[in-house]
């Protein structure tokens, strides 16, 4: 009997242990390695970094570490500018996403109940189709002789070709397009739950519809606004595909910088240092996001 309860404890202990172990090995450890390599010197050999870590040589490990790569990051203002520009582009995109996403989510929440699940499915559906393909579709639209120019010229709105591709605007359009479901769904979730009588009560107490929107709807939708914004802002900062395909060579973004350090310059330690830099930029939003999510999960019935 006792033996059986021991095996039972063992099997039930495996439930958290297996995924825990997996994430430890394939998520946490790689992370520490990035951190370590960011502190090592580039070498010409393949792989292109000097392996500073030998299990037998702990003292050597610490003495060989230096912050040279980070010094390089601070000396060359390219990285500083790339970081700033990434944050700026991500922030502007997030604001645009809110402006585009809120009316859609609001419309969905006010639609008759029997249509709502269909609308949600329609918002999610593009997400299931390839990200790369969806960005690719915009190249043909935004090209100087592309479909947007053709359409607008056809309507007589413009006479000269629009040159949007390879500008920051193309990046904004791409990010808003690709991340829209991530903004709309959390907003919809809070707006849909909102009690309509609260708005009626505000109107009844003399508040105009516009004022009621700002004093009642927006504050109550705040959890959704915060979740949606972070859900878009965080990956947007590190975005690579969109600036690479839609943004011109002038569009500086840190994810793209990391990619080119790695693939073009083959400087792995510097790429790791850039990764750490990116992570430092994102630590605060990620922590806030985790808190918001945890609270949302708790308050759910």
């Amino acid at each position: 009997m006792k033996e059986r309860s021991f095996t039972k404890r063992l099997t039930s202990g495996l439930v958290p242990a297996i995924p825990y172990l997996w994430l430890g090995v394939f998520f946490l450890v790689p992370f520490l390695i990035v951190f370590k390599i960011s502190l090592s010197d580039p070498a010409i050999a393949q792989p292109p970094y000097k392996p500073v870590f030998e299990w037998s040589d702990i003292t050597g490990f610490f003495s060989a570490l230096d912050v040279e790569n980070f010094e390089l990051l601070t000396q060359d203002d390219l990285y500083f500018r790339a970081t700033l520009s990434s944050v700026r582009i991500a922030a502007i995109s997030t604001i645009l996403l809110l402006l585009v996403g809120f009316p859609i989510a609001y419309g969905m929440a006010r639609a008759p109940e029997r249509h709502r699940s269909l609308l949600v499915a329609l918002v999610i559906l593009p997400f299931w189709t390839s990200f790369l393909i969806r960005i690719y579709a915009w190249i043909a639209i935004l090209k100087p002789e592309g479909l947007l120019t053709q359409a607008l010229t056809g309507m007589g709105l413009i006479s000269e070709p629009l040159d949007i591709l390879n500008t920051e605007w193309a990046v904004y359009i791409g990010i808003v397009y690709a991340y829209l479901p991530f903004m709309v769904l959390p907003l919809y979730a809070t707006l849909e739950k909102m009690d309509d009588t609260l708005l009626e009560a505000a109107l009844d107490l003399g508040s105009t519809p516009w004022r009621s929107f700002w004093t009642i709807t927006v504050p109550l939708a705040m959890p959704g606004i915060i979740a949606g914004s972070l859900l878009c802002f965080i990956p947007a900062v590190g975005e690579f595909v969109i600036p690479d395909l839609l943004g011109g060579s002038e569009t500086l973004m840190i994810g793209r910088q990391l990619w080119s350090e790695f693939f073009s310059n083959r400087d792995w330690p510097l790429a790791s240092a850039v990764a750490i830099l990116l992570l430092i930029v994102l630590v605060l939003p990620i922590v806030i996001y985790r808190d918001v999510e945890a609270r949302r999960m708790e308050t759910r019935p």
């Binding site: 609260l198 009626e200 109107l203 009844d204 107490l205 004093t215 109550l220």
Partner: protein, 391 residues
Amino acid sequence: MPPPSRQSASASVGAVRRAFAPWADPDAKPLIRFENVTKRFGEAVAVDHLTLDIFEGEFFCLLGPSGCGKTTLMRMLAGFEFPTEGVITLAGQSLEGVPPYRRPVNMMFQSYALFPHMSVEKNIAFGLRQDGLPKSEILDRVGEMLRLVQLEKLAKRYPSQLSGGQRQRVALARALAKRPKVLLLDEPLGALDKKLREETQFELMDIQHELGMTFVVVTHDQEEAMTMADRIAVMDHGRIVQVATPGEIYEQPKTRFIAEFVGDVNILEGHVQGQENGLWHVKSPSAEMPLTIDDPDEVLHSGQAVAIAVRPEKMVVQREKPGPEAVNVLTGEVWDIGYLGDWTVYRIRLETGEILRVSCANVSRFVESPIDWDEQVYVTFAPGAAVILAE
């Protein structure tokens, strides 16, 4: 000289609540007037050619089963719905096209609709802030409201930290804070438990009396309406079936629907035989002898099919056969006995298979040889205890 109608008899029907009856005064101007108002939602008619006057200072109840149109009527008064046809006026002014935020009418919502992100104070101050009142005045008014509903200590709390009864008070204070001409209350006590509901009924009456404000209450609970209202409008299928004081509604229901909806009632079917000394004689298959009913206002002709409504407490159940001079005697056997403490309810099965409900006040703690199950009994009622309802 007004014709001798039900109105003139009102003093003798039911209990008198207070000497206040502007509706009986032909010169009185109503505060709220619905004139031939119809509201349709697509095909469905929620309110059907309805005309109604409500007077200043009244405690007015709209009573009816769910879906009868009472809530739509209230929402049209608040401005959330607009009539498809007809006009609503408030103090002589048409409300046509006036949005809810421009009406001197406030509402206490059934769900209370307290703003969850605002404290009690902020909730109560919300309406006042919309009017742009000076800060000090808002503060005074909020304090006054908090005192009125006895919530001074909870001013800083949030709705989620309050009990159901406290929330109800906050909702009331918030709606009263702007001193509206009319306060609308949508099922104000629906969410409270029975004990609290009874207390709150009387509190609402006191507050209304103190402020002299016009209250319009929507409820499906007839007891609530009976306790609080000066007048009750009973609604069914978008129409008003009867508007009268609680006493009249109970003692002189106009239709069988009202008799059955408000309180308990026994219905006996029959045909008019004729009138004698102002009393009607009705032949009913439920009784051996014709029934004698004192309902002089009813205009009937011989042979007309009618229903006779008798309230359970107005019937007497006894074991001994009544004398030959007795009127309105029914025979049956005891089917069920329900002891409720203050009342005992007997369900008597007549020979026709009908079940009558007779209630008896338990005036004494001791009863000698109480009536038992399956006993043969006689049920009687006085001619004035019954109402004739034309079918």
